[in-house]
């Protein structure tokens, strides 16, 4: 039992989907980092702007430093609508001028350029905040040193902006990934189509047809097709060899068989006892059966050989059928059997090989006489549309429809065991197939007997 592996399609799509999902995850992580950086950048500027404004509002009056908080600084910070603000203004002497005096920057103690703003993400009063510290040198002689402004703002607006930007990126990445996946599915389907076509061609192929495949396939499939063709050629060669061997054997058998028949006919029956005479009868019957079978084998080989080589020519179907009828109905036929031949008024011309076709019809009639006919055999040539039909009807029991499909195979006959010849219908069917026709059966009805129909396409009037 062949183990079914996942289809090429699902393998490809699954792998591409995995790559896309991985890519999307990487992109989303990057997008989140970018969004956070962008949000920080945007709101850091507000924070820094506000800090600068507050720093600028520091004035020295009467040797004392004073702060006059500009509301515009808070309005600037208020652009982050929901965020809470904590601030502290530190005088050069370290005292808190105003604001929350427990607010401090963790990095303030470390060395950093005092005139550059210091940004920090930290916690204040249990809240996550972004903190900026800006400093300014106070150049009044009485109060020398650096004054600092610290502003901390909660990060709600930043988080909202980050989420919003990330969500948008997520939507874009999702759409792109889905498009890419859809594109991949289409592309894979399209790329695998030649494979389906090849399978189709092979499936539709006649079982007898061993000619090389003639399909256009992509470069990648060419070696595969070449291998198939190579294999078929070898198979074809072997088959032909086998057929030649059978034909040769049949031919070789015929000669001793003829001698055997002659010898049997020379035996003096009178001198034999009753029992021996019965045995002799059996020998005679078996010999004639063997002779007929050998002939059929030869005919079969001949038919195949002729279609391989012979040129087809226009034939009068009625003429061929009549000749076959004469050849098939023996002179020694039971006089009680009614045989008839019905010809059409018009000439039905078909394109074919006379010898093979006659052999086919002979085999059908012969089969009918041997296995079917009780007292009546009718052979008719009729026209139906663009087809010429040779119908062989008998009053026998017929072949049950269940057997129709395999009686046309070699070495099968309707009544297994008794007088099995098997090749009759096989030859007829092969000839019909070679001439683009068909061999079919019509079931027995109260009005009509079982009929075998050989259907062949008529040659068109223009002669093509």
């Amino acid at each position: 039992m062949q183990r079914t592996k996942p289809s090429l399609f699902s393998r490809l799509v699954l792998r591409v989907a995995l790559v896309l999902a991985g890519g999307a995850a990487v992109l989303m992580t990057a997008a989140w980092f970018y969004a956070r950086a962008a949000a920080d950048e945007a709101y850091d500027r507000l924070l820094q702007g506000a800090a600068i404004q507050i720093l600028d509002s520091l004035v020295v009056e009467d040797g004392k430093i004073a702060v006059n908080l500009p509301p515009s600084a808070f309005e600037l910070l208020g652009l982050a609508r929901r965020d809470r603000i904590f601030y502290r203004v530190i005088a050069p002497d370290g005292s808190t001028l105003t604001g929350y005096d427990d607010l401090a920057a963790a990095g303030a103690g470390k060395e950093h350029a005092l005139n550059a703003p210091l940004f920090e993400t930290s916690r204040y009063r249990g809240l996550q905040v972004r903190l900026v510290q800006t400093s300014r040198a106070i150049s009044d002689p009485s109060i020398g040193g650096w004054a600092h402004v610290l502003i901390a703002q909660t990060t709600e607006a930043r988080q909202v902006l980050t989420t919003e930007l990330t969500t948008r990126a997520l939507i874009l990445v999702t759409i792109m990934s889905l498009l890419a996946l859809a594109g991949t599915i289409l592309a894979v389907r399209y790329s695998l189509r030649p494979l389906d076509a090849l399978g189709d061609t092979l499936r539709r192929r006649d079982s007898q047809d061993l000619t090389p495949l003639a399909v256009d396939v992509p470069r990648e499939l060419a070696p595969f097709v070449d291998s198939i063709n190579h294999f078929m050629r070898r198979l074809d060669e072997r088959l032909k060899l086998l057929q030649r061997f059978i034909a040769d054997s049949a031919h070789q058998i015929r000669t001793p068989l003829t001698a055997l028949s002659a010898q049997v006919s020379l035996i003096d029956e009178e001198a034999l006892s009753e029992t021996n005479r019965r045995h002799l009868d059996r020998v005679r019957n078996r010999t004639s059966e063997l002779a007929r079978f050998t002939t059929q084998l030869l005919n079969h080989a001949m038919v195949i050989h002729r279609f391989d080589s012979a040129q087809l020519s226009p034939l009068d179907l009625t003429d061929v059928a009549r000749k076959a009828f004469r050849a098939a109905v023996p002179i020694t036929i039971d006089p009680d059997t009614v045989v008839s031949f019905e010809a059409p008024d018009e000439t039905l011309t078909i394109l074919g090989d006379g010898l093979s076709l006659r052999e086919a019809i002979v085999n059908i009639i012969d089969n009918s006489l041997r296995h079917g006919t009780l007292s009546k055999l009718e052979v008719r040539v009729v026209r139906r549309g663009d087809f010429g039909l040779v119908e062989v009807e008998d009053d026998g029991p017929g072949i049950p429809p269940a057997d129709w499909s395999h009686v046309t195979q070699r070495f099968v006959s309707s009544k297994s065991g008794e007088g099995s010849s098997g090749l009759g219908f096989a030859i007829a069917s092969e000839v019909a197939g070679a001439l683009q026709g068909a061999l079919s059966f019509r079931e027995k009805t109260p009005q009509r007997g079982f009929t075998v129909v050989l259907e062949l396409p008529l040659m068109r009037r223009d002669g093509l």
């Binding site: 908080l69 001028l97 604001g99």
Partner: protein
């Protein structure tokens, strides 16, 4: 009603002005209890820096909807309310279920320091953007700062209709109006400070000129709306500047001689704030009350019985002012938001008050 140093004038005024004889007089720091209509099941504690008489119709109407609720209203002055709330917050103690204050900057500061809890509902969605910060501080009224004058003593040609016109009137007739103009004392009144601070922001030049004129005309500064209004009624003052529209209109209804003018150059609009403390003992009830205040029903009661002005409705009759405050661009709402933290800053406040005080010497009365 805001900070008053002495209770005596207010008591007097209360008797003469406020017509609510059936109710215990609410004074700063005093408690008024509104018993439940039905059997009392819960108790809502409101700590307000808002005149209990203004809140009374709202509380009574709320009790119609919630008959099982008894309401306790503690009336404070703004600065006391803020101090109490701040210390309760830092000690993690409960301090009422709802805080109401006209000094919204103080409420914003409380919310900024994490002393508020947020509340989101269908009703809070309706609140204008400028009157809602973090879903924690909600403005539930709409009160323009107005000019009030005594119709009997101020001739029509002298009626000031803008900030500049007051300054010009005082320059043209300094003697007539000397000692006859009243306004808030920003040192005592939180709301007075807030309005003055925003005046200085809105029109620094005009406000500078105005202050200068006030200084020359020996302006009379008082702690509270009611006191200023009372002195106009009694004939001592003729014009009052920066009175909250709701109080001014209520007074003008009682005394037809008082006329209300909304300045036509710009008018500051204050929205009284409400906040639910983080540690409110009864937060769900507080949210229910807040929803009521913001609901169309509560807003209607506020417009008709308590605060008289509202954002969507036309001006009340007899108010001299532009047809529509917001659309004309005259109304300048004081946005409830972090910008108010600048007003709340200790150093800034001290500096502003020092500057202001230096112009008014010696301080009255």
């Amino acid at each position: 009603m805001t900070a008053c140093r002495s209770l005596k004038p207010l008591l007097m005024l209360g008797v003469s002005l406020l017509a609510a004889p059936d109710l215990a007089r609410a004074l700063e720091g005093e408690q008024t209890v509104f018993p439940a209509i039905a059997t009392e099941q819960t108790r809502l504690v409101i700590n307000g820096a808002t005149d209990v008489d203004a809140m009374k119709p709202l509380i009574l109407d709320f009790q119609q909807l919630a008959p099982e609720v008894a309401v306790v209203f503690n009336d404070y002055v703004t600065n006391d309310l803020f101090r109490e709330a701040e210390s309760a917050c830092s000690k993690e103690a409960a301090y009422g279920d709802v805080l109401l204050s006209s000094s919204v900057d103080q409420l914003v500061k409380l919310a900024n320091d994490g002393c508020a809890q947020d509340h989101r509902s269908q009703e809070t969605e309706r609140v204008a953007d400028w009157a809602n910060w973090r879903d924690e501080v909600f403005g539930f009224t709409f009160e323009p700062a107005v000019i009030v004058y005594d119709g009997k003593r101020v001739p029509p040609e002298d009626v000031p209709r803008s900030h500049v016109e007051i300054a010009e009137l005082l320059r043209a007739k300094p003697d007539v109006y000397r000692n006859r103009i009243g306004t808030y004392d920003v040192r005592v009144s939180g709301i007075g400070y807030l309005l003055a601070f925003h005046d200085a922001l809105q029109a620094p030049t005009t406000y500078g000129r105005l202050l200068e004129s006030f200084s020359r005309a020996d302006v009379v500064t008082r702690c509270c709306n009611s006191e200023v209004l009372g002195e106009i009624s009694s004939g001592r003052l003729r014009i009052a500047y920066n009175v909250l529209g709701s109080y001014a209109y209520a007074a003008s209804r009682r005394n037809p001689d008082l006329r209300v003018v909304i300045p036509r150059d710009y008018a500051l609009i204050l929205s009284r704030g409400a906040l639910i403390p983080k540690l409110a003992p009864n937060p769900n009830l507080a949210k229910r009350f807040l929803d009521y205040l913001l609901s169309p029903r509560g807003q209607k009661v506020a417009r008709e019985k308590a605060f008289f002005f509202s954002e969507g409705a036309p001006l009340p009759p007899d108010v001299d002012g532009p047809m529509s405050l917001i659309e004309s661009g005259v109304g300048r709402p004081i946005r409830i938001g972090p910008a108010l933290l600048a007003a709340q800053d200790q150093a800034t406040r001290e500096r502003f008050i020092a500057n202001w005080s230096s112009l008014f010497s010696p301080p009255a009365p």
